[in-house]
Symmetry: C2
Subunit: 364 residues, 2 copies
DNA sequence: CTGAAAGCGCTAACAA
DNA sequence: TTGTTAGCGCTTTCAG
């Protein structure tokens, strides 16, 4: 489809040149073996343990000695071998942020970005690292399960956007500390998790909508096998009370396209539609497009509210009234719970529910 | 700002209970020590080496014995200790996908998603794993440098979206194999990279625009310290030839907001504007919004083309004519080059330039 | 085909 | 404060 165009100073088709020995690693005259702690110790004229102390904070080492060691480290270009350290310590210093989602969508959801940033920042404070991994399909999930349970990381934070029973099942029987971001359907009591109160949030935004609009209100939901999809629908139902019309419910899958399609169906069934609760901003963007294509003005003819306060919310015309989720706080709490688990405290599963807040814009 | 709302079955504020011993790891009667390869060997009644062979493919092991070993593995719930394996093997089986970008933006760019997915898939084929890491600011970058050079990964793929000299500098002097995605300004000759031909792509799309539109054509560029920002402007200039108007150039930063702002400035200076090349779809989305706010119809009054074919391209009304980049192929090539480096082949830096293709939609 | 043994590079406990 | 010494759990020769 797309093809290699030009190549500067290279010969990509000829498997770029010059082998220089596949295994100079441990051959004879150490043609630049990576220096070890012993090399440093020897050069600095100290014991191995002393070097270890220095590279681990330098406590209990005479300043002069520390100085010498650091010098040796610099001249040798030494850096620790992480694998060796992990083995000796029994921990890795990294935790995984697992996103069980097709990468396409993953990178469209700003919530993930905020999660990632928050985790990353907090972990760095304690000298650890965040690894982000994804699992879009079952195969990836298996591979991921291997990865996680095999000791690559000290713990995991799981952002599940759909049912993930296989992975959860597997992790549950492993020794890996982990906490779920979002309510894990079917594992609510067994696992630790932190989630937003989808039901309440949906109730809030739909109540707002219902207060501004007379006439028929419909909804495009998320997937009904997910806890978020389900609860947002519940919240909508509760907010609407008698005005709730089961015939004005369309099920989406969080995608823009499904939002558009949902509204087309709704409009066909109920041309009198005046208000719309769409369970995600991305779907809402599709919904607005469909509305406009059908000649409806937003919000004059039909008012719409979204959910998530994602980038799509302000990308659309008019900008969406929506709910903003406490992502950062979720991240912090999740990490705290995880650290408790990592610290070896055996504790009952912890469940946290956080509130979202209404963001008023111009789509209502 | 947002607050803990409710808590089910948990006591988050009291640092959730019950310590059960911080160090039962190696204490006395192995209160469930993680089983090792020796445990398996003993149970299966074979030597340690045999178990190792089995868990590494089982070649050169009698089927019966293999059977026995696998059984022992199952009953013990054994899984390899990755750190030990890494140490023994001298490699980790994972490669990093480094994105030097604020996470906000990161997760808005679908290109990253496609990169990630492609890497992930390919690596899995060879039994390896992809780790995604980000570096938004200098501090993170340092931390990341530590991480990468310390032996956590076998190699790295770097998606740089702005000048990254410090990180590149540092990596360059390390022993870590890596290749850059996108042209690394200032390191063009020293490092291996694969990039799209921004100049040519911009030329293509702007030529298309110029062919459809009479009158003034302006542009909102990317950041001019990035190679993409620069080259897209170059391509635009070349395509426009005499029609290029230096006064109709606004510099953006890839963000939606900057696209909007750029167009506002342009419109103020040149109300006669008839065509617009915006160097990214996200900015183009902002541009379209600004245009509409100013009462201009797209494309009737002013035609606009974007770049990237990102999600924003179809989220906007009208859908954007834009350039689609050969992300997947870039990923594949990048990985291939990286693997050559990892394999220990010492080779001159490799540079690949790939072509983008025009996607016609309705914004022109 | 299989067992034994020698590391991989580092940490941490223990003496000194 | 320091050096020494056991491991950490696995892979990989090397005999057999």
């Amino acid at each position: 489809m797309q093809q290699i165009n030009g190549l500067l100073e290279a010969f990509p088709t000829m498997r770029y040149g010059v082998l220089v020995g596949t295994s100079d690693r441990k051959s004879a005259a150490s043609p630049r073996r990576r220096p070890t702690i012993d090399d440093v110790a020897r050069l600095a004229g100290v014991g191995r343990g002393t070097v270890s102390r220095v590279i681990n904070g330098g406590r209990n080492v005479r300043p002069a000695v520390r100085e010498a060691v650091n010098e040796a480290i610099d001249t040798l270009g030494y850096s620790v071998n992480q694998s060796a350290r992990n083995l000796a310590r029994g921990s890795t210093g990294s935790v995984a942020f697992v996103i069980s989602e097709r990468e396409e969508r993953l990178f469209e959801d700003p919530n993930f970005g905020l999660f990632a940033r928050t985790f990353s920042r907090e972990l760095r404070r304690s000298g650890r690292h965040l690894l982000i991994t994804t699992a879009g399909d079952e195969e990836e999930e298996n591979s991921l399960g291997d990865y996680l349970t095999v000791g690559h990381v000290d713990g995991a934070l799981l952002a599940l956007t759909r049912d993930q029973e296989p992975l959860l099942q597997r992790l549950q029987t492993s020794r890996l500390p982990f906490v779920v971001l979002g309510k894990p359907l079917g594992f609510e009591r067994a696992l630790s998790w932190v989630a937003i109160d989808d039901e309440k949030a949906a109730f809030t935004v739909v109540s707002y909508l219902a207060g501004k609009v007379d006439g028929a209100i419909g909804t495009v939901t998320g997937p009904l096998q997910t806890s978020s999809g389900l609860e947002r629908l519940e919240g909508c139902r509760r907010a609407l009370g008698d005005r709730f019309r089961p015939d004005l419910v369309e099920t989406g899958d969080w995608s823009l396209r499904s939002g558009r399609h949902g509204v087309e169906m709704l409009l066909r069934r109920a041309p009198e539609l005046r208000g719309l609760f769409v369970a995600s901003d991305l779907m809402a963007a599709g919904a607005v497009a469909a509305l406009r294509a059908a000649g409806r003005r937003v919000p004059e003819d039909v008012a719409v509210v979204g959910f998530d306060d994602s980038a799509a919310a302000t990308m659309v015309e008019p900008a969406l009234t929506t709910m903003r989720n406490p992502i950062e706080q979720s991240a912090l709490e999740g990490l705290r719970i995880l650290d408790d688990q990592i610290a070896g405290r055996v504790l009952p599963p912890v469940h946290l529910v956080l509130n979202s807040e209404l963001v008023e814009r111009s789509s209502v």
